[in-house]
């Protein structure tokens, strides 16, 4: 109970993480498709299709403008869906969590392993997208390699939020609510496909105050543009603190769900 469950986390969480990595590697052919195909589709349809109608965004060619957003979105989707639908399947249908907590692992180890894995999956996806985007000439090297280390805390944040929903959902279908009401609007309104600056002032504050993706896109765009400003410090600290907050909430909600 001490320290909101954080003291119950051990190295065992890495065994949980490793189990998920092993399962991912076993089916790597399917898993590696999205990070290669998604950016190509988005770049062709939006970057060059819609982009043909738009000269530039603040002097930046449109495909270059959306490239960092595509990486951010991929991290969001892969991490969030891993820790909602996939975690729920492991928890409820496969009873994998039950098998794990019958060993020396604690609930906190299991949940931490799940979130670390979601973050890792997001990072793998970001890393796989980079060569594709580079081949399209929409990101610069080597600065854009910084997208990879930042994908980890970003993925951790979405995984932790995902786990919170998984802990309270009455069934797998109800996970569609956060997917459509939280993730999809964020996908569209976080400075992804148009600059956040064209929104009314209050909505801009709302976006940076409450939307994880808006903060992450801002950091990733600064990385690919190579333009760093003090606002980024705010974005990064926000991501880290909110990730920690949802991590703690997720641990406790899961403990309530799984231990009686």
């Amino acid at each position: 109970m001490a320290y909101a469950g954080l003291s119950e986390i051990s190295r065992g969480s890495l065994a949980v993480w490793r189990r998920n990595l092993d399962a991912f590697i076993k089916t790597y052919k399917v898993n590696f498709i999205p990070p290669f195909v998604e950016p190509v589709l988005y770049l062709l349809a939006l970057g060059y299709g819609v982009g043909a109608l738009i000269q530039d965004v603040d002097g930046i060619p449109y495909p270059v403008f959306i490239a960092p957003a595509l990486v951010s979105i991929s991290v969001m989707y892969s991490a969030f869906f891993e820790c909602t639908y996939s975690s729920y399947v492991r928890m409820y249908y496969q009873k994998t969590f039950d098998a794990m907590i019958a060993t020396p692992l604690s609930i906190e180890d299991v949940i931490t392993g799940e979130i670390l894995w979601g973050a890792t999956r997001g990072t793998i996806y970001a890393a796989l997208m980079i060569p594709v985007l580079f081949l399209f000439g929409v990101i610069d090297m080597p600065t854009s390699l910084l997208l990879i280390p930042f994908a980890f805390p970003a993925g951790f944040l979405f995984s932790a939020i995902g786990i919170c929903f998984t802990a309270v959902t009455p069934g797998i279908d109800a996970l569609n609510y956060p997917a459509f009401l939280f993730i999809t609007p964020m996908f569209l309104f976080s400075g992804t496909f148009f600059p956040i600056g064209i929104l009314p002032q209050t909505l801009q504050y709302f976006a940076f105050g409450f939307l994880p993706l808006a903060n992450i896109v801002n950091v990733n765009r600064a990385i690919t543009m190579g333009e760093f400003s003090p606002v980024l410090l705010y974005n990064i600290v926000w991501v880290l603190l909110v990730a920690l907050l949802f991590f703690i909430i997720g641990l406790n909600l899961m403990k309530r769900r799984l231990v009686d």
């Binding site: 490793r18 399962a23 994998t96 794990m100 019958a102 231990v259 009686d260």
Partner: protein, 301 residues
């Protein structure tokens, strides 16, 4: 030496008592059974022993350690076979064992060695690299038992180990469980199969509504609560009246009359000669008679 000791162990879910102040102890090297109808509190008691459910009252020690304070230490030394098979469907039979070993921090080479041995022991070597969905129910059950043995546990907890298995598979599992006992492992199990409890358990408790009704060896319990033999015959009003007249104590279960007897020939003779019954069955009393006598015949959900 006592492996498990429980004193007034309690588990409340809100105001509902799932386990209502039970005391028992399990000795090293014995097979100890929890019997009882559905909802009696057996599984809850087992969950508290393997530290996934927290008690709400009383005291519970496993290996002398408090389950509330040292769950990791306790879980390191015990194996669990849950009621529902839960192999990891993303991996093969062999990988199920080696991945499970990682949760105990067992080094890889040691884990692989034990996995091979246990596949052999549970007669699953042929299915070593098979995906889980190709295993039959009996094979999955054996895999779960093999998995529970990966950490070489001193105590094995089994929740209905042979549920839904064919007779061949049940006999194989019984043989393996007896072998484990012979090498010093302590086993705690629940079962609804009373013949299984009678064959395997050194001692058992029968629970109902969260309480322990009786405790003892199967033979002791049968002797004490069901007598030596049971005489059975079809019931009808005249027959019942005749037995009453002869001052024979009996019980009616649906369309059958049962008489507990140490001298069944005499009872059978009275039934045949004085009460005119021709079809009479005389059989040994079993644990099932004790169970039904103590917990009643009402259906439980």
């Amino acid at each position: 030496m006592e492996i498990i000791t429980a004193h007034n162990l309690e588990k409340y879910f809100g105001t509902l008592a799932a386990v209502d102040g039970i005391s028992f102890s399990v000795k090293k090297g014995e097979i100890f059974g929890f019997l009882g109808p559905n909802g009696a509190g057996k599984t809850t008691a087992m969950k508290m022993i393997h530290c996934v459910s927290k008690r709400t009252g009383g005291d519970l020690r496993v290996f002398g350690l408090d389950t509330d304070i040292e769950p990791r230490m306790i879980k390191q030394r015990l194996g669990v076979v849950p009621q529902e098979n839960n192999p990891d469907p993303d991996f093969t039979t062999f990988q199920n064992l080696t991945i499970y070993a990682r949760y105990f921090g067992i080094p890889r080479s040691e884990a692989e060695k034990r996995a091979e041995e246990l596949l052999e022991f549970m007669q699953l070597s042929e299915k070593r690299d098979a995906p889980i969905e190709t295993l039959s129910g009996g094979m999955k059950r054996r895999l779960i038992i093999a998995r529970a043995l990966m950490n070489e546990p001193e105590l094995l907890i089994l929740d209905e180990p042979t549920i839904g298995l064919d007779p061949q598979a049940r006999h194989l599992i019984w043989e393996k469980l007896r072998h484990l006992r012979s090498i010093g492992c302590t086993l705690v199990m629940t079962t609804h199969y009373l013949d299984e409890a009678e064959r395997l358990c050194d001692r058992l408790v029968i629970m109902d509504s969260g309480k322990i009704l009786v405790e003892g060896s199967p033979a002791e319990l049968v002797r004490k609560y069901a007598g030596k033999e049971i005489v059975e015959a079809a019931a009808n009003p005249e027959f019942v009246a005749c037995l009453k007249e002869k001052r024979i104590e009996f019980e009616v279960f649906g369309d059958t009359i049962q008489v507990q007897a140490d001298d069944p020939q005499i009872i059978a003779q009275i039934m045949m000669e004085s009460c005119g019954r021709e079809r009479i069955t005389v059989r040994m009393a079993t644990l099932e008679d004790v169970f039904l006598k103590l917990t009643g015949r009402t259906l439980r959900e």
